[in-house]
């Protein structure tokens, strides 16, 4: 686990102004104009002048800084920072936030904590706060992201609640990162307003995918999962409007007690009504946030829904829809649909169990969320003698 946020850090030489977004450099040899936008990670070597910030692993290094240098002492973070990472240094809150990691193929930006759904298993429980400052920070960060980044993501909360500023962000990604894919998680409801969808389409982002959850073929069951009456119809209309505007859509289904029972029905519903979507992701539960609090009522052991999952995958893939299983451990996925399982849990979140010792499928297996010790299948067994 790498800590991505840290508070109560010690700042030196900085007035408690608002946060500043900077790129991290481990290299001392930079043009002055670049140094002015970067933070230097102080190591054992000489400490150059001219960087906007100095990032220290220990108080002792303070002696070695140039006069008047602004510095933050963050032992736990500094050792993990790499060339090209983007961070926000926030003297006011005495914090630094890692916004982007240069050596990770996928980074996502949280755009807002507000949401108009209130999902039973939300891993990022919504808060109704004014967090417009986040947008400014992300807009700045996008400019500093490596131009060869493979993919970035926008999440929330519900990004579309930002209204015009949402388009501003997509526009920024399109313009600053012309080779980078953009994946946006949204509940899609706002796009039921066709004009809103058309506006997104009109940006013409080169590689955009909207990830939108649909939890049931029956409206009230979906509305229950997202705890919002009428959400289902809006989400479905949103998907139609997005596709009509030429925006690619991925349907995301979280596999939990409320969704797995009718999973084959949902798959048929998608094949009959939403055949034109670009991807369907069937996702194992990530037991954090509300999911943790509601675990007892939302958890269903993967071995108990293996049959439904298998039927759903066959219906979807049979209809020609690209289909993936995320966050699932291979040994509890029926063998015939294992090729659809992806190693989806990011390295820094991922772990295996002692039971996994000697498992031949470990390299392909998504494993477990490291943060979580509950919500694990009773049927984890190493796969040996590969069939």
């Amino acid at each position: 686990m790498i800590p991505l946020r840290a508070r109560a850090l010690e700042f030196r030489g900085a007035s408690p102004a608002s946060a500043e977004v900077i790129r991290v450099s481990l290299s001392a040899d930079r043009p002055a104009i670049i140094k002015a936008q970067e933070g230097f990670v102080v190591g054992t070597g000489p400490v150059p002048e001219g960087f906007a910030w100095y990032l220290l692993g220990s108080v002792d290094d303070f002696q070695r800084l140039p006069i008047d240098a602004r510095a933050v002492i963050a032992p736990a973070q500094t050792m993990f920072l790499g060339q090209g990472d983007v961070i926000a240094v926030d003297p006011l809150r005495k914090a630094i936030r890692v916004l982007y990691r240069g050596n990770s193929p996928y980074n996502h930006f949280l755009l807002t904590e507000r949401c108009n759904n209130y999902c039973l298993m939300c891993s990022q429980p919504p808060r109704d706060v004014d967090d417009n400052w986040i947008v400014d920070e992300v807009l700045r960060a996008i400019q500093l992201v490596r131009r060869d980044a493979v993919e970035i993501g926008f999440t929330g909360g519900e990004p579309t609640l930002l209204g015009e500023r949402f388009f501003e962000l997509v526009q920024a990604a399109a313009s600053h990162l012309p080779g980078t894919a953009l994946h946006i998680l949204s509940n899609g409801r706002r796009f039921s307003d066709g004009e809103f969808a058309a506006k997104l389409g009109a940006i013409g982002h080169h590689d955009l995918m909207m990830g939108i959850p649909v939890y049931s073929d029956l409206a009230h069951l979906h509305d229950h999962v997202v705890q919002a009456d009428g959400a289902y119809d809006e989400t479905i209309r949103g998907i139609l409007a997005l596709k009509a505007s030429g925006v690619r859509v991925e349907i995301r289904v979280v596999l939990q007690a409320q969704t797995v029972g009718r999973l084959p029905h949902l798959a048929q519903f998608i094949a009959r009504n939403l055949l034109f979507v670009d991807h369907v992701a069937l996702m194992g539960l990530e037991p954090t946030g509300f999911a943790r609090a509601n675990m007892e009522s939302i958890w269903c052991d993967p071995v108990d829904y293996a049959h439904q999952l298998s039927a759903a995958v066959k219906t979807l893939s049979g209809a020609g829809i690209r289909t993936s299983i995320y966050n699932s451990q291979l040994c509890v996925v029926p063998a015939d649909i294992r090729p659809y399982a992806r190693r989806s849990i990011s390295d820094w979140k991922q772990t295996y169990l002692p039971e996994c010792e000697g498992c031949e499928a470990k390299r392909e297996c998504a494993g477990f969320f490291a943060s979580v010790t509950h919500g694990r299948s009773r049927a984890i067994r190493p796969i040996v003698g590969a069939s």
């Binding site: 029956l218 009230h220 229950h224 289902y232 409320q258 029972g261 009522s297 269903c300 829904y305 020609g320």
Partner: protein, 503 residues
């Protein structure tokens, strides 16, 4: 508040103050549901009914449920309620997005019609060295060329091909024996490709040939130009040769040899075969299928008896044969299902085409490369003499002296005259199944192609008197037979879904 969640595995109760229970979101019972357009037709004598919605999504329900639903008496707690709701037979206080989705599905179903004429058949010659009795069109093979398509006719026909708005164009060469006029085929392919450099359609070619005259030159050409070969194979040697006499009585041997040679050059799956069903076929469906298995084809198209040409002339298209055909068909289908159960991947194309309409939101189209040509309205035929027909069947009818479905001539008439003229539109609109009496209340109507040429040929009127029509009898039996098999067995349902997606 107590949170209790609907789950098939557990009914846990946990205390989470902020969340509302599932029932709180179910407004189904708040007010009466609103029925959306739907129809029902009896499935069998066991009180089972087939119900279909506006776009042909179906459910099998018992008579009592059908009655309750129709009378607005179905309770939301009834298990059928959710199924009807999920399949867009009703909307209620919970949701009405079904209206949008149905509209979209109607469009999807009709889209291929808007692109009409994706398949263009060129009859490059009527000459043939076979003399099949059921064939109405062929002429003796001689060198005089009066039954060959001319260069001018070919070029004028291509003008029409590229006027079709379809993004995918498939050009199929037929005869007679098409390969007897290879020079013209070459010219058409070359010219079509040249025009396509600017037209930019998805362009494909098929040569329909009996393979008897397939030489290395023709094969090399097909290979170089990426042309698929489709041939006739009626079954085992005895049946095939009886159907297709030629000097030497070796039609089957030549076909099989040609199939091997063509596969060797073009690739195994670039050679397709199509059977013609005659009364002699009716008692040997397994032998016919076995012949296709033996030659390692991925499937077979068990075709209906043709009411055209020889069949009608010789009165062999009698009611007896029609009823026998259904037995023939289902015996064959069940045999193929059992083959699949044993692990042989083998498809029956006729079922697959019908199942595609029944089980997917898509319309059956004949653009798919290996699918059989010449049925339905998706084809347009350019005869050797420049006459244009609405389908292969129409051409057969014309050869028998009935010009009803001749749309015009490439030398005299414009695209508008031909494609938007009365000869095509009238029978099409008249027979559009939804507007025909008898069909409008039939649950099978969304799956049922109206067949104007068939009805004209057999009853002298393109609409047809449905209850009497052999077409309707056959269609009903087919739909019922397919549904009964799916309802009885989940493996069959899975197999049928697979076929539907592949067709």
């Amino acid at each position: 508040m107590i949170l209790s969640l609907a789950s098939p595995f557990q009914r846990p109760v946990c205390r989470v103050a902020k969340f509302r229970e599932a029932e709180a979101f179910d407004s189904s019972a708040n007010a009466a549901y609103t029925m959306l357009p739907w129809r029902f037709t009896a499935l069998d004598g066991n009180d089972r009914y087939v119900a279909t919605n506006l776009v042909g999504e179906h459910l099998v329900l018992d008579r009592e449920t059908i009655g309750k639903f129709a009378r607005q008496e179905l309770a939301p707690a009834d298990p059928a309620y959710d199924e009807l709701k999920a399949r867009h037979f009703l909307i209620d206080d919970d949701t009405n997005v079904a209206v949008d989705l149905l509209a979209l599905k109607v469009r999807t179903k009709l889209a291929p019609l808007a692109n009409f004429t994706a398949l263009h058949i060129f009859v490059v010659t009527l000459r043939c060295e076979h003399s099949c009795p059921y064939c109405q069109v062929s002429r003796a093979n001689n060198d005089r060329g009066e039954f060959d398509m001319s260069r001018e006719t070919a070029l004028k026909s291509l003008d029409l091909v590229f006027r079709s708005p379809s993004p995918a164009l498939k050009i199929e060469f037929q005869g007679g024996e098409s390969l007897l006029n290879l020079p013209l085929i070459k010219l058409i392919v070359e010219e079509a490709k040249r025009r396509n450099e600017t037209a930019r359609r998805e362009l494909a070619f098929v040569v329909a040939t009996n393979l008897a005259v397939l030489d290395d030159e023709a094969l090399a050409f097909c290979k170089a130009e990426n042309i698929l070969v489709s041939t006739s194979l009626d079954g085992p040697a005895e049946l095939h040769n009886a159907n297709r006499p030629r000097p030497g009585r070796d039609s089957h041997e030549r076909a099989v040899d040609g199939i091997h040679r063509a596969r060797g050059v073009l690739g195994h799956y670039n050679v397709g075969a199509l059977m013609t069903t005659t009364s002699a076929s009716l008692n040997q469906v397994k032998a016919i299928i076995d012949e296709y298995l033996r030659l390692d084809f991925g499937g077979i198209f068990l075709r209906p008896l043709s009411p055209y040409g020889f069949a009608i002339k010789t009165k062999s298209y009698a009611a007896y044969s029609r009823e026998r055909w259904l037995e023939f068909y289902f015996e064959g289908l069940d045999y193929i299902i059992s083959l699949n159960r044993q692990g042989f991947d083998f498809i029956e194309h006729y079922a697959a085409m019908v199942l595609k309409k029944m089980l997917t939101p898509l319309q059956t189209s004949y653009v798919d490369l290996m699918s059989p040509a010449g049925i339905g309205i998706a084809a347009i035929v350019y005869n050797y003499d420049g006459t244009v027909y609405a389908s292969d069947e129409s051409r057969m009818l014309a050869e028998m002296g009935d010009q009803t479905f001749a749309l015009g001539n490439v030398h005299r008439d414009s695209f508008e005259d031909i494609m938007l003229g009365d000869a095509l539109l009238e029978p099409l609109t008249q027979s559009f199944a939804g507007s025909v009496p008898g069909c409008s209340s039939c649950a099978f109507e969304p799956w049922c192609g109206a067949d104007p040429v068939f009805h004209h040929a057999t009853q002298g009127d393109p609409v047809g008197k449905k209850p009497l029509s052999a077409f309707c009898t056959r269609s009903m039996a087919l739909f019922r037979g397919l549904i009964t098999r799916m309802e009885a067995d989940d493996d069959v349902r899975a197999l049928f879904e697979k076929w539907a997606n592949r067709a």
